[in-house]
């Protein structure tokens, strides 16, 4: 049989399919009405629904951040009580982490783009995909109500023994909500791993996978390996809270530090769940707007996996002051430095990609530059914090707050914005206003640094995080930071306005406005319900800008039910065809 198949493949008929700039039937016009959207199993619509939900919670958590910054305008009380302040920062942190950063890139943009970049019609398990969306929405609303209702104020880390204390209200409900959200994350990860392994179009070998796919693959692995540990941890925490089983409670012979180990075994890899998919977007955007092959394809692809692997071994660096053994802290500190290597490899390769490229400073590319600046600062300060003696001084100060905002907001959210502006024409079929897009990118850069640079300084000078009051000498830093947060708020409103306006009366987007070689751009904008009206055949890598565009628009000439018989095509045979 195998021989026959190979023989068939050599005579495979390939035809050029140039995507139409005026598609008549797209996934947006295919089925209409609220019910069709709510019951759809189409990965593109599910991606858009995720995007809407994530944007909603981002706006909510963003407003809370503005309230927190406003409260910190004066050293004493400005306008809210201390207890309210504690609840608000818990709400802000938990929402940003569990509702926004974790699902943002993989579930929203990843869902939309992943099957298209693989030339597949959908993810491997479309119904599971829809289920994961509803689990997310249910979990998020459940957690939000529990957080807001109970005056929950443990911070997003739920540290024991404070959280296992019966006086700490609502722990059971909040952790149950996070447990539900974890399921959504696990299902997405499982779905993506299977899709990447089994649903690649003819000719997409592992060496021709877009780097965005490599990044999502690494992310999915972390989701699958880390999230269940969080699930069992919060199950144990709930049991501790309900009936004192004594595992985390020191009064009963348990160990609160064990809780921290369990928690960070998930939550440290979780920061890579948030940032690694961002790396994927950067690789896509930077090649498209440099019109150049990515520098060091395998270095970038494998460094994502390296980060996923090493990321599992560094959780102890959150606990340098928690009383773990000095041997353990030394090892964790060393391993933490190791993560810097694959991350540094990525940064250097991206910068090398720019070299002699034909750089086009469009909005997505501006966000990539913002990312490169901010994330590099965030990364280096992470190395600083990984150094043992320095960390003893900086632990739980604003320096840490500034660090993780530089990597999470300066990294993940900037990559998300780059990806959002990059794929927006593909998702909606509309072009946004380029000038407004650029203005917002510059404003975000200014606002971000105004907000968080002063926090490094005051953190180094000893301003502890999560404090409601502060001494007078920090006033100038706090006030600068607050002004910066308002600039950020305005910038996000401009982005919202720009994107919404494009939906109403934006210019019609051509199939491939950026002249990208990526497979997702070889479909119409917006794409057909099945993504492509043919089975794509790939003969070049996604970054081969030295090859003519026609050779990226190939598909099976004869289609059986939308797909050909033989999806495992090897390189040479296809080229002969």
């Amino acid at each position: 049989m195998a021989v026959a198949e190979t023989k068939n493949l050599t005579t495979l008929q390939v035809k050029r399919f140039k995507p139409s700039d005026n598609p008549t039937n797209t996934y947006l016009t295919d089925e209409k009405g609220l019910w069709a959207w709510m019951t759809t199993v189409d990965h593109k619509k599910i991606g858009l629904m995720y995007l809407g939900a994530v944007a909603f919670f981002f706006a909510l958590a963003g407003f809370l951040a503005l309230a927190l910054r406003t409260e910190l305008w004066t050293p004493a009380k400005t306008f809210i009580e201390a207890d309210t302040y504690n609840q608000l920062f818990t709400l802000h942190g938990a929402m940003m982490v569990f509702f926004v950063l974790v699902p943002s890139i993989p579930a929203a943009l990843g869902n939309f783009v992943l099957p298209m970049q693989l030339g597949a019609k959908d993810v491997a398990f479309p119904r599971l995909n829809l289920a994961s969306f509803y689990i997310y929405v249910f979990g998020a609303i459940f957690t939000f109500i529990s957080l807001a209702n109970n005056g929950f104020d443990t911070g997003w880390t739920f540290y024991t023994p404070y959280s296992s204390d019966a006086n700490s209200a609502g722990v059971i409900w909040v952790t149950l909500g996070v447990f539900i959200l974890g399921f959504s994350s696990i299902l997405t990860g499982t779905n993506f791993i299977t899709t990447i392994h089994k649903l690649r179009a003819p000719g997409i070998t592992w060496g021709r996978l877009p780097l965005n796919i490599w990044a999502l693959y690494a992310t999915s692995i972390i989701q699958v390996l880390a999230t269940p540990v969080l699930a069992i941890t919060i199950l144990l925490l709930s049991m501790e809270n309900i009936m004192d089983i004594g595992i985390f409670d020191p009064a009963l012979g348990g160990d609160p530090v064990l809780y921290q180990h369990f928690f960070w075994f998930y939550s440290h890899p979780a920061v890579y769940i948030m940032i690694v998919p961002g790396f994927g977007i950067i690789s896509e955007v930077i090649t498209t707007f440099s019109k150049k092959h990515i520098f060091g394809y395998w270095a970038i692809a494998l460094s994502s996996l390296a980060i996923a692997f090493i990321g599992f071994l560094v959780w102890g660096h959150h606990m340098f002051t928690s009383g773990q053994s000095s041997v353990a802290t030394t090892v964790f500190s060393f391993l933490t430095f190791l993560v810097g290597i694959p991350t540094g490899i990525k940064i250097l390769n991206w910068v090398a990609t720019l070299y002699k490229g034909s750089i086009d400073m469009k909005t997505p590319m501006l966000y990539v530059f913002v990312f490169l600046f901010l994330f590099t600062i965030g990364g280096f300060t992470g190395i600083t914090l990984g150094a043992l003696s320095v960390d003893i001084h900086l632990h739980d100060t604003y320096y840490v707050v500034a660090h993780f905002h530089y990597v999470m907001m300066g990294g993940t959210l900037m990559a998300l914005l780059a990806g959002l502006h990059y794929w927006w024409p593909k998702m909606t079929g509309k072009m946004y206003n380029e000038t407004l897009g650029r203005i917002s990118a510059v404003l975000i850069f200014i606002g971000f640094n105004t907000t968080f640079l002063p926090q490094f300084v005051m953190g180094a000078q000893g301003m502890p995080r999560r404090y409601y009051n502060y001494i007078d000498q920090f006033t100038i830093f706090h006030q600068t930071s607050t002004i910066g947060s308002y600039i950020l708020g305005v910038a996000f409103l401009i982005i919202l306005y720009n994107l919404m306006k494009s939906l109403i009366n934006g210019e019609k987007a051509p199939a491939n406005p950026w002249n990208s070689r990526g497979l997702e751009w070889q479909a119409t904008s917006p794409p057909d319900f099945h993504n492509f009206d043919h089975t794509p055949v790939i003969i070049h890598g996604p970054y081969d800008y030295h090859q003519p565009m026609e050779e990226f628009q190939l598909g099976l000439a004869v289609s059986h039910n939308g797909h050909g018989d033989h999806h495992e095509v090897t390189t040479d045979e296809t080229e002969k065809a």
Binding site: T194, A226, G246
Partner: protein
């Protein structure tokens, strides 16, 4: 292979090229999910290791309260059910719907036997006051045997591990009842038996976890 995939059989979902791709995807997805499950139980095993290293004498003492005989019977019951579920898959592959249904029924029955034995074990413990956490209220005789004030922790872990495992057995029973009904409607044949196969995978894992739980909890010397 080439001839059957040209026509799109009814059980193949629209986004798959052919039956093989759908089967392989489902199987890989299940394996990834099983990795998940192992990590989930891994947290409990980790807690077990930590506390056993700290309080070894407590663990040997507390384990004497568990009934080795019934634990052993349950182990044999579960291993037997793993055999019958494998035979169910074999029947499906050979188009033997009747054999498939009989094997599924035996598997369901064995799983129920496991749960019934587990119920009596729990019942007996609760009767003696060996309950988890704040419900801990042992009778004087038990207190005499279990003098360690931290005995609570061992049973906390015991109830968490066996409880979460028991929930997985219940889910498995539900899945197999669903398979039994579908098999009755003739949904499975040698071309399409994916749900039987992946439920079998799940069931083997449930079995495997018990094989680790039994010696770790019951057979400590």
């Amino acid at each position: 292979m080439a001839n059957h995939s040209a026509t799109h059989p009814a059980h193949v979902q629209h986004h798959f090229v052919d039956s093989d791709q759908q089967f392989e995807s489902a199987k890989l997805g299940m394996w990834v999910f099983l990795v998940n499950e192992i990590l989930f139980f891994g947290g409990l095993f980790c807690a077990y290791i930590v506390f056993r290293a700290w309080y070894p004498e407590l663990f040997t003492q507390a384990a004497l309260e568990l009934n080795k005989l019934w634990g052993g019977v349950n182990t044999i019951v579960l291993i037997g059910s793993s055999l019958t579920v494998a035979m169910a898959i074999r029947s499906a592959q050979k188009n033997q719907t009747k054999g498939l249904r009989i094997n599924l029924l035996i598997t369901i029955a064995l799983a129920c036997v496991f749960m019934v034995i587990k119920y009596f074990e729990y019942e007996h413990k609760l009767h003696l006051g060996i309950a988890p956490g704040s419900f801990w209220n042992p009778t004087p005789e038990i207190l005499h045997e279990l003098s360690d004030p931290r005995a609570n922790i061992f049973f906390g872990i015991y109830y968490m591990m066996t409880g979460v495992h028991g929930l997985h057995v219940l889910v498995g029973i539900g899945l197999m009842i669903w398979l039994y009904i579908r098999a009755g409607k003739g949904h499975f044949n040698s071309e399409y038996y994916t749900p039987v196969e992946i439920t079998g995978l799940y069931w083997h894992l449930v079995d495997l976890i018990w094989i680790f739980l039994f010696p770790l909890l019951y057979l400590i010397e």
